[in-house]
Amino acid sequence: MSVPAAPPVPLTGEIRPPDSVSPPITENSTVIVQGLSKWYGDVVAVSDVTFGIEPGVTALLGPNGAGKSTTLEMLTGLLAPSAGTIRILGKPARGDVTLYREIGLVPEQETLYPFLTAREFVRLNAVLQKLPDPDAATERALGIVEMLPDADRDLRGFSKGMRQRTKVAAALVHDPQVLLMDEPLNGTDPLQRARLIELISRLGKEGKTVVVSSHILHEVERFADRILVINRGKLAAAGNYRAIRDKIDEHARAVRIRCSDPRRLASDLIRDAALVSLRFEPSLDGGLPSLVAETGDVRAFYRAVPAVARALDIHLYEIAALDDSLASVFAYVVGR
């Protein structure tokens, strides 16, 4: 059964084409990227990207493989661009080691020195930064990420979340002006995640330039003042998070609902204005069918379904978005 409903909301013109999405380079820009490209043979990883980043938190958002990590690696100087220039705090990103007094990097890769304790690892970073009191700086950094209770444990026994926090402590130990974080929330549990988000927001409010890459859309909302959307190596959109999110929410998306009485729920849901279409999907194990709803306003629909179910005394087992992958959403947002 398929129930036609209101037509999908079309994408309107707030998201501009790539050539005009670049955030302006101003005198406040601490990170200036101009015409940045990186290619490997015939494969283009980053293509002619230009942007300026000011103090505060900027999210580098895009699906896996979009070019976020490559861009961050070029910002740190680990990777040489094929074309273009990067200046951070007025210095070239590659070739001037004095810049690293002002930069901290939280790399995505998990490998650490397994034989060191967290305290030794952070202290090593403090010593290499030539800090006058590496012990005090180490304690401060470990305290910020709440790793002091586990500071004397070997890194080899750490969970992914603990490794992430230790890497953050190492990146913060010298109190850098610019902090580059590649998927810092990966592997963290909800509590650690909340605290890291709080830390990222606080650093932004203190006037640091924090660039955080992520492929999780809703995560970014909680800490980023601005976002740069990267897709297929190009800067696809830039600006305030909410404007871009609103565009994404306008995208009709499929939601699967499993409940104790799908037919009765369907009969009421078809009256919902946010619904585009509705169909039943048979269960593979011979049980009750699922409902697959296409909605033009996913947030409103997520609010409506539990309310309808509660009114009809129907138990909800699952509400899951089916096409919520960033790749499809980004393709919609940037109109390609």
């Binding site: 680990l78 070739g95 080691v97 790399p107 890769q109 034989f115 010593v127 290499l128 030539k130």
Partner: protein, 245 residues
């Protein structure tokens, strides 16, 4: 951790916890095993002759380059491969300092292991008259140290340039130096081994111990020093320009 030389301290700890150093340690005991066999059946050879033979035929051509190769390629190459190098290079320190501290760690670790194995073999082979041949032991110690410096710098540079550095190092020492060096005399002049053996021969200054076309002591030391300086400069340049993804 050593604060003035943190990368040296870090590298030594990497070695201590790793498999490579255990292999080198076991390998360094092979001369002692030969010394034990010699004790059981001297076959008319004096202890001094035996010890000279073991240096010229085993330590210099095989043990010294391979032990150095194993640790030198792991010091920089492994950190590039597992991407921990980012924690060192993204610091306000020169790439030359990273290379030099890594090199110092390699040189210290390999030299100590070689000296420990050589001393043990010496004590076993010489038994009661160890004091009479101390000049020979010291000459081997110096030659081993010089060899570690030459090979260590060369193999560290190779580890940043060639993807399979261990294989490249083995080809250099076993095929280039050992095989080709035997048939083509000119190859000796571009072989670390020839300078190491020359230094040993010149230091003991004994007509009974010979080496074809042995270099004089000072030129041999200068060549090894220049080789180490040039290859460490190449390693520094490579670390500065390479992509660390």
């Amino acid at each position: 951790m050593l604060d003035p030389l943190p990368i040296l301290g870090l590298t030594l700890r990497q070695f201590i916890g790793g498999r490579a150093i255990r292999i080198v340690f076991l390998f360094s005991l092979v001369p002692a095993l030969f010394a034990l066999i010699y004790l059981l059946e001297p076959g008319g050879t004096t202890a001094r002759e035996f010890f000279a033979g073991i240096f010229q035929e085993f330590i210099a051509p095989t043990l010294l380059p391979i032990a150095t190769l194993i640790l030198a390629t792991s010091a920089l190459g492994n950190e590039v491969e597992d991407r921990t190098m980012a924690y060192l290079v993204l610091k306000p320190i020169s790439r030359a300092r990273i290379v030099l501290e890594k090199f110092a760690a390699v040189a210290a670790a390999v030299t100590l292991l070689l000296w420990e194995g050589t001393l043990l073999a010496y004590l076993i082979a010489m038994r009661g008259d160890a004091g009479d041949n101390i000049d020979q032991l010291l000459a081997i110690f110096v030659a081993e140290l010089v060899g570690v410096v030459g090979y260590g710098a060369l193999f560290m540079a190779i580890s940043l340039i060639v993807p399979r550095a261990l294989l490249a190092g083995l080809i250099y020492s076993l095929i280039w130096e050992s095989l080709f060096g035997r048939f083509i005399p000119g190859i000796r002049l571009i072989s670390v081994r020839h300078y190491v053996q020359s230094i040993y021969v010149r230091l003991i200054d004994n007509p009974a111990i010979e080496l074809d076309e042995a270099m004089r002591l000072v030129p041999a030391l200068i060549v090894i020093t220049l080789l180490a300086a040039a290859t460490l400069a190449i390693a520094t340049w490579r670390l500065r320009t390479m992509n660390l993804e």
